[in-house]
Structures are given as C-alpha cells and as structure tokens.
Symmetry: C2
Subunit: 316 residues, 2 copies
C-alpha cells in the first residue's frame, strides 16, 4: 500500500546523525547514528544509505526523496558541502550528487539553520508569515530568512548569518574572520565565560552550589535552573544576552522588515528570562513603524531538523 | 502607430518631481515640476495627470502604465503612501488607487530606493546579479535588496533600510526612533558637521578657502573638490565615512550573502576616495568565504529614479 508524501529527513548534529521517516509534519520512524561513527563523507553516506534502506524495508511506503541538513556552508541547489562545523575532512563534497547516485532518489542538501527555518515556517512558530527571521542560539548563533514568501539562500548559499553581524567596531576576533560578531558575545561559551568572570570578581550567586563547586560543569541549563531559583546573577546573564541580541535584531528588523522572529536553540530555553529583555530592546530600538514585529520561541523542538530536511525535497 | 513598451516613470525628489516617458532604459521625453508646487497629495496628482496627458498628446504611443517612486514609506503592492520624507500632509494616502481612477491606466507606487534598485538591477551596475544590495548615500542612507532574483519589500514594504542598522550600542538618537543608526554617522549633515568640528579644533585644510571662509556653504561636493587637491582633512573624511559604511556592509554581506553591492547618491561621487577604504573594510571584516563580493558605483545616475519607476509597471 503506497502512501504519497513519505520522505526521509536527515539532521547531522554534533552528537547524532538523526534519520527520520517523515509524513507531513509527523516523524513516523527515527534512527540515530553516533556522529563520531559517520564523520567522514564516505561513512556518513554509508550510514544514510543504510538508514534509507531500512526505512524502505520496514514500511510499505514509497519514499519520495531524501533531504539533509548540515551544520556548515552548503552551496545550494548544487548540494555541495563547502565546509562543515563539527566534521573534519569535509571540503567541497558534492553530497547531493553522490547520494543521488547511490540511492536512486531525489536528494537535497542545505545548511541546518535553513532547514530549521523551513520547518518552523511550514509547521511551527513561523507558520503563516511571509517575512520571517529564524534564529538559533547555541554554541554558535545561526539564522535563516524567509522574505516575501521564500527561504533566502543568497549568492553562495550562506544567507542568514545573523550571528556574524558585528555589534560594534572593536572587540574579540571571530573564527569567521570578522571582529566583534554577535556570536562572540552570546554564544554558549561566551555566556559561560562571562558568568565565571562575574563569580571570580566576587558576585554572589547560587550557581557554584548548583554545580557542586565545579565550575567546569557550568552550562546554560544550570544558569536557567539558577534563574528559576531567583538567582540575580543568572537573571542578569539573560538580561545581558537578551539585550545584546535585541540590539542586533533591531537592526535586522530595520533592514528586512520581518513580520515575525522565531528563536530556538539551547539558550532559547531560558524562556521569558531571555525573551523579555530581548523584546524590550527591539521595541525600544527598532524604527517606530516596525516595532510591532512579533518575537516568539521556536516550537518544533529538536524534530525541526529532520522535518525541515524532509521539506527540502518538496521545495527542490 | 502604436509601440509596445512605453511607460511613464515618476520620481518625487526634494526639488523636482521628474516625469519621464520611458521606452526600455531610454528616457524619450522628460518634464519637471517643482516639488514645492505639488507637495500636497492633491496637487501632486494633478501634476502627474497633466504630465501623462501631455505625453499622450505629444507622441503617438500607447502608454502601458505609470510607476512612481516616493521618498518615504510605501505599503506595496497596495501603493499606499504611509509617510513621505520631504512632503507634509502625506499620511496613508492611497496614491495608487486614486491615480488609477483618474488616469484609467495601471499605476504602481513604491519607495524611491526600491525603484532605484530596480533600475540599477535591470539596466545598471547591478545587471545580472541575483543577489544585490543597493545603497544610496545622501542626506539619508537608503537601501534596496534583491535576493535570490527578486526585489524584496518585506512585511510592510520597508525592507532595505541599511542606514538604520545601529553601528554600536550607544550614540546619537535617530529620528527613526533608534540609537546610533549608520545614517547618523555618514549622512550629509553628519559628514559636514564632522569636518566643521575638525576645522574648529584647528586641523589645517584648504576647505575654508574653497568656500571663501563661509563654512555654511560647505557641501560634500566641496569636500570632493578639496580631496582632488590633495587636502588631507578631505581625504580623511572619506576614509572615515568609507570605513564606517564598510563595517555595516560587512555585517550585511554576512547576513545576506550578496554577489554585488551598488552604491549611489551624492556622497558616492567621492569615487575612489570613498570606495577604496570602504572596500578595504569589507574585505577585512566580512566572513572569509564571502569577501569576494563586488562593490561598484551605481551607473544610471539621476535617471535611475524615472527608469526604475517605469519598471514597476512591468513588475507589478
């Protein structure tokens, strides 16, 4: 019994390569391969081919195609992975062409934040908006843009890098080659470093207690936990991060005139502690006529990666 | 004898309302009405109706439609002028609907920088690029975006305001409601103020002599003149302005991944004195993979306004 609309979505993350069989917005089957075991272009292809075969065997559905989200620079629509954040040995790999040949199915490859944007736009918090900015806050700050009803790729496929807008003229160097990029102020590591520096200069907080005195165990989740306990340093952390992001988003609002901004990723779990100062800064700083932009959390969670990857097949 | 492709383009400037009869990229006939005489919505409409009629009578061409570029916020595609920079009494004027009724022809209305972008993209320095950022440097700093092959309007029609990206957290207030917007550092008045301040603190320059000691006669053109004479203050002015614009453009390059940036407007006449430091900053500050973006001067000159306005008719 064949059912139209079954697609495979693949999300290459830092820990796992997630492979899902997707029907519409539903994940009907899922497999995970540790990324460490599939980190070369060759082993990743083998893992994907195996997963697709096992889906094909286990269900009696026709698979329309395979979509892949990669944390790196992807030349779209050619599907050439120019470089990849977590994986080594990836330089100008024509993943789309290689996999298409092995699978005999349509294959699409794009950047993971573009894919997440596609998912949130189609089924999630971005639904119904023709002009949308998606942001992911984590180790890095990624972004995706939907403008006048289409996901924007840009000239070489990398449009959307909100995290690499400089916040001022001088500041820390960024691995991207720039200086004072937003990411260098609000990425996971930078946030943790700031909290440690505040503790080192004697600011009182429940955070050291929450990590049993071992500050190397400090994570954004611990800061969230302290926030809920009313810890002033933890709350100050998200106020500061929210304000910084809000300043750049005010500029993005002026430049792109979006209707909605969707924010996801680990740090976004801080919820209102982060969103309130962030929104307040956008409302205060953006051009008067544009402040009505709505700013909401992403709502597909970790499934956005495989759902959005599957959507590439339809879009392509 | 009817000829396909004759359109009327109207460019509402600070001094003149220019009306042109356009065939392709050629201006075959032009009329100017002093803006002061047509500054109300009613008198502007009368002037436009009269100009279109005179074109119709004087040539035996069928006019396909009328396109209008307005220096202000325009809700596109409805063609409602929300506000206008130079003209008073303009608030939510449904110019497209009103003129369509009076002329019995298709009418399109958009922001003047969108219109200039459309012209440079179709016939000028932006030709052939699918991803293009256009910038106009003058009293204000305006911008237009072509992304993945389409002119971007955004949610309420105001996409492209590069001049209102904040360059840092604190700084001068901007009439837009923001703080430290790029425009507040590189707009005509700000540039002139800076030169005056430098002169006031004793910096030596040929500029005072060029204006016969009357600094109120200082304009960007005088700075250009001094630049060509080798005046160090004049050259320093464009280095400073170019660097400032370059910093924001580096962020715009990272965010939008354009293939080309086209820069026009009065200040752009400074030529290499401005473009060289501007390019140097973009090359140094943008993400490594994106620095090959080309940065070129606009090349349609003042005709871009009427040519681009005429193009709206075909696009609409």
């Amino acid at each position: 019994m064949s059912q139209r609309g079954s697609m495979v979505g693949i999300d290459i993350g830092g820990t796992f390569v997630k492979c899902g069989l997707i029907v519409g917005s539903r994940v009907t089957m899922e497999q995970r391969i540790p990324t460490a075991r599939s980190s070369t272009p060759r082993s990743l292809q083998d893992g994907i081919v195996e997963a697709v075969r096992s889906f094909t065997h286990r269900v009696d559905k026709r698979i329309e195609g395979v979509g892949i989200g990669i944390p790196g620079l992807v030349r779209y629509p050619e599907g050439v992975v120019r470089s990849c954040v977590n994986l080594t040995g990836w330089r100008d790999v024509p993943l789309k062409r290689l996999l298409k040949r092995r699978l005999g199915l349509p294959v699409e490859v794009d950047n993971d934040v573009h894919v997440m944007t596609l998912a949130e736009w189609t089924y999630g918090a971005g639904r119904g908006a023709s002009n949308l900015v998606c942001l992911t806050l984590g180790t890095g700050v990624g972004g995706g843009l939907v403008l006048d009803g289409r996901l924007i790729r840009g000239w070489t496929g990398s449009a959307g890098e909100v995290g690499h807008f400089p916040v001022q003229e001088n500041g820390p160097r960024c691995p991207c080659g720039g200086i004072a990029c937003l990411e260098r102020y609000v990425g996971n590591q930078e946030v943790i470093q700031w909290v440690k520096a505040e503790l080192a200069r004697g600011v009182r907080s429940q955070i050291p207690q929450l990590v049993g005195g071992q500050l190397k165990r400090l994570t954004p989740e611990v800061i969230d936990q302290a926030c809920r306990l009313g810890d002033p340093l933890a709350r100050q952390t998200w106020i500061r991060v929210g304000h910084r992001i809000g300043l750049t988003l005010a500029g993005v609002v002026n430049l792109l005139n979006p209707e909605r901004i969707v924010i996801g990723g680990g740090i976004a779990k801080a919820g209102k502690w982060l969103f309130e100062p962030l929104k307040a800064t956008v409302r205060r700083r953006a051009m008067r006529g544009l402040r009505q932009v709505s700013i909401v959390p992403a709502n597909l969670g970790v499934s956005a990666g495989i759902i959005g990857a599957a959507l590439l097949v339809r879009e392509g």
